[in-house]
Symmetry: C2
Subunit: 188 residues, 2 copies
Amino acid sequence: MSAQTSVGAGSSGAARRTPFGAARRTAFGTPPVPAAGVPLDDVDRAILRALEADGRMSNKDLADRVGVAASTCHARVAALRARGVLRGFHADVSPEALGRGLQAIIAVRLQAAARARLGAFARGLAERPEVRDVYLLGGAEDVLVHVAVQDSPALRAFVVEHLSTRHEVAHTQTSLVFEHLHAPTVTR
Amino acid sequence: MSAQTSVGAGSSGAARRTPFGAARRTAFGTPPVPAAGVPLDDVDRAILRALEADGRMSNKDLADRVGVAASTCHARVAALRARGVLRGFHADVSPEALGRGLQAIIAVRLQAAARARLGAFARGLAERPEVRDVYLLGGAEDVLVHVAVQDSPALRAFVVEHLSTRHEVAHTQTSLVFEHLHAPTVTR
DNA sequence: AGTGAAAGTAGTGGCCG
DNA sequence: CGGCCACTACTTTCACT
């Protein structure tokens, strides 16, 4: 199971309609389609840029913005989803609002023997509620874990319970995150 | 200017309507509201969880999912936006589809004298098209830069041009990203 | 606060430049 | 392939509970 099982699948009215003919219910960080070979024209890029800025923009507004008819725009968006260019739409929830105002990045080095289980280790971490991102690296460190916690005791508890006392882990180094800037993928 | 200026503001039909009475056009990674003190009930959390998984879910589907009337659901979402809990909705665009299939994290240490300009330095980096995230840290390193580039020459070019040859930069360490797991903020 | 109905808009599919 | 039109469905406001 991935970082987010059953959130988009479980409960009541299962397969309902979503704008843009959403076939695939994309999970976080899971690439569903290998990304095609068609190069993306200016309209496609304008659509992606607009939807990165405001993912709930109506199709009509989007069409007006990029300068095509609504039907054309709708078809473009569906095609971008089908091609795997548009992986999904996600709400941006403030961690502070959930009482997790302290962020940190923990660099983790594994025991050499444990590197074979790196994937499972990382996926296990990603299921913890305090974990926001897990980066699997090649370099001096093996994993970077981005967490949001309530306070420094909670940070310490996370590091101790899930990292430093685990036998797979050789070394950890924790750094507080003072600010996190996130930039759009499509810039021009 | 932030990591993303003018994307949600520029072109034609300026101030149009967006679902959920979007007042604020949230920029990437910019916290607009200090996050209130009302604790979030089960319905709020269910709404946030569903919208993190699928940010384009219709209000009707969302209402059915969380078990309230559409009008109630609509009001809840508007309130969550107004309180700054829901910061925005963003499309998830595959960097591979844009020809940037190689990701890396570069740890940067600045010259002591340049630390005063850290914020400006970070914001400058975030405006580069290859940059996805910039983390400002307290610890052994000052900044972590997450980039997506076309290939290793492009990675090298980025590091040389924007990091290692800059006089503010004392040291860089580049690690390739083999996998990136992103987890939702609201887990339960 | 939450609900249900009513009016306004937007999404969807078929057909035509 | 892109635009237009009609039909259906959803979003959003408001008076009531």
